[in-house]
């Protein structure tokens, strides 16, 4: 029961902050509400016994990506963006598309009243030490994907520097 109460609390925080992110005028406020959503999602990882991902979420998302976002929000001119209308011209089309998405997701989750129909849960215990299990998986079964991901980060870093550079020599 305490698990359910924690889950409901974290879900409300995540969803309310997410709605605030997409409705605020000021991009700085949006960024701060996004931090709330990211923290709540981190709490949900913790609730699911994914301790390593919780740490990654806090360090990388809240600590890294959000600082990057706030930097860029401060670099571009907020006053100009504040005076303009919040929503794009095509908001009616967007509304219909979103309704369609809700209908499709609802249909998939409802599934003629049978719910999700997940396959049977495997027997046996979950790995007790989450960080150890994730680390072994990353460096044994997922060795090549991990290397490709590190290469992707390098390319993204070089790309970001080249994009933001004033003039290319």
């Amino acid at each position: 029961m305490p698990e359910l109460i924690t889950f409901i609390f974290l879900s409300i925080v995540a969803l309310v902050s997410a709605v605030m992110v997409i409705t605020r005028h000021n991009a700085v406020h949006s960024a701060i509400w996004l931090i709330g959503t990211l923290f709540a999602v981190g709490g949900i990882f913790l609730l699911q016994h994914a301790e390593f991902l919780f740490a990654v979420q806090i360090i990388l998302y809240v600590g890294g990506i959000m600082v990057l976002f706030l930097f860029v929000v401060m670099l571009v001119d907020i006053d100009v963006a504040m005076k303009q209308a919040r929503y794009a011209r095509q908001w009616q089309v967007a509304f219909v598309t979103a309704l369609l998405l809700v209908a499709i997701l609802g249909y998939a989750l409802y599934n003629h009243g049978t719910g999700l129909n997940l396959p049977a849960r495997p027997m046996g215990a979950a790995p007790a030490l989450n960080t150890q299990a994730v680390g072994s998986a990353l460096y044994q079964n997922y060795m090549l994907p991990t290397e490709i991901a590190s290469l992707l980060l390098l390319v993204a870093m070089v790309g970001a520097v080249i994009m933001a550079k004033r003039k290319l020599q």
Binding site: L34, T37, L68, A88, N130, A137
Partner: protein, 100 residues
């Protein structure tokens, strides 16, 4: 043990909010933030199902998604800086250089 369905409902709701943000907002920065919301919704889904199947594979995929999110944020924000320098705007409606 809680129902995995609850997590998937939460993930769908967060995904939908992110999609609405991408489709309706004008500010490019907030469109990028909505993409982060979508990626977080995907991560909730991956972690919930990884817990359900008692395997860490889903969590490893969530780590790759976070890596992609970091790369996407770095390149996207670099693009926004370059765009703001050239066009003095972060409004998605005014970015129409390829339109005629």
């Amino acid at each position: 043990m809680m129902h995995t369905e609850y997590y998937i409902f939460l993930s769908s709701a967060l995904f939908t909010i992110g999609v609405i943000g991408v489709l309706t907002r004008r500010n490019v920065l907030i469109i990028l933030m909505s993409i982060e919301l979508i990626l977080n919704a995907v991560n909730i889904n991956l972690v919930a199902l990884s817990q359900y199947f008692k395997s860490v594979d889903g969590q490893v995929f969530a780590i790759f998604v976070i890596t992609d999110a970091a790369a996407e944020a770095a390149v996207g924000l670099g693009l926004i800086i370059a765009l703001f320098r050239n066009k003095e705007t972060v409004n998605a409606d005014e970015i129409d250089l390829l339109k005629w």
